[in-house]
Symmetry: C2
Subunit: 262 residues, 2 copies
């Protein structure tokens, strides 16, 4: 008789952006395996559990992944309730399938608890919806990151015709990403939103695709996502107006002022 | 002095899949405007608030949207804390931008609280990750639904090269959607996962793209999403094996048994 392993999304960063179900499962867990990126306050919800930090969200080697699988299987043999806590949503760039398959093959019951992913938190932080009537009816999440045993992907081609595109784990190759998207037909004046540490410090900036292709990006300290699409044009324009007159307050106030004087 | 309007994601359906922040804001709100699709137990968290049902998640006319905008602005003039509760994530197919723009133009402070969207809950229900090393590194959410004042979109072309595609509000035109995707080069034997009422009753089925193009889909009673991509192939095969030997238990048990006898 083995326990259940819950693959739980820890959300984008802020501890109060996990779900009620996730919080209850963490509180009740006997053992918690968590990604290094999960917020300490979220891990601290596990008052009863042994807490074990395992691989980082991105960049874990496949041997490390196999080792995590084995530890989860072993834990399910000893505990009724095992929580595997992953940043964001387990089913988006979380390598969940490898854990699900290994656990299922071992006859262990698995339940998945979805979580808010970084793109959603970044959109909320910016105050810009990823879809918008008349402008964007499709949103893609992708990553240019390639695993060690993988072929280079066609990530860029997959995004060429999507209205709003969000790239995870792309900050270190931002210049090349922008150049590739321009090569596929995206215009140099297309807006790009950059959000570092969404839902936490949330450093936000706007830049054109052409500028990003020329300048690249200074690597920040927190996880950074790049967002592309016409939905960001109004906010980029407002941010640039504000930069020219820095005493005028936030771009939202400015947008409000502009709208009222029309 | 006006109040703050919180655009809050109510999550995919199950009341315990909202975030802690959402729950606290609903509990503290003085007035709550909620979509008709939001679960009654979620609305019931608003013990202090006047609760007002407004337009459905999809299909609200633009006049209705303008009316909602006006009611939100009026409410912010009278209450410190106004919650606008939307199914799923406000920034994905939630028409949030129209409300943000109207409120901002009226000088009202807006905060967005992200939520788990139906595609994430459906992926969790199926136990199939939307991304998977070597198979899928891009995921798109889109809708073929066109607003009354809009041009028919290029939703299909936008998805042609994406690894995993999720369509919202597409069940009524499923046959045409499948035929269009095949016309763009997706193979007839490509797997399709169909999830109705994700995170609640969660009726799940698998079908090939060719079958969907021939048969279409019986409209269900709950919101239905269609998911396309190679990530679903193993689960579709297991479901079909199980259908041939119906006494063999769930597909997960079956997959476990198969893996153990290898």
């Amino acid at each position: 008789m083995s326990g259940t392993v819950y693959l739980v999304g820890a959300g984008p960063g802020a501890p109060d952006l996990i779900t009620l179900r996730a919080a209850r499962l963490i509180e009740a867990a006997e053992i918690v395996f968590h990604d290094a990126l999960v917020h300490p306050d979220t891990v601290a919800l596990a008052t009863r559990a042994e807490k074990i930090a395992v691989g980082k969200r991105c960049g874990a080697h496949s041997t490390a992944q196999r080792f995590i699988n084995k530890r989860l299987i072993d834990a399910a043999g000893k505990h009724a309730s095992v929580v595997r806590l992953k940043g964001g949503d387990p089913m988006l760039f979380g390598r969940a399938q490898e854990e699900i398959d290994a656990l299922t093959a071992a006859g262990i019951r698995v339940e998945i608890v979805p979580g808010v992913t970084a793109a959603q938190a970044a959109s909320a932080d910016l105050g810009v919806s990823l879809t918008r009537r008349g402008i964007s009816r499709s949103v893609a999440f992708a990553t240019p990151r390639v695993g060690s045993e993988e072929q280079p992907s066609e990530w860029a081609a997959s995004l060429a015709h999507v209205d709003t595109a969000v790239l995870y784990m792309a900050a270190h190759q931002a210049r090349q990403v922008a150049a590739t998207l321009m090569g596929l037909g995206r215009r140099g004046d297309s807006p790009v939103a950059i959000v570092e540490s969404a839902s936490l410090e949330s450093k936000q900036s706007y830049i054109t695709l052409g500028e990003l292709a020329r300048q690249g990006l200074e690597p920040g300290t927190g996880p950074t996502i790049l967002m592309f699409g016409e939905v960001f044009r109004a906010a980029m324009s407002a941010a640039r107006l504000q930069r020219r007159s820095p005493t005028s307050g936030s771009w939202r106030q400015l947008a409000g002022n502009l709208a009222q004087t029309r």
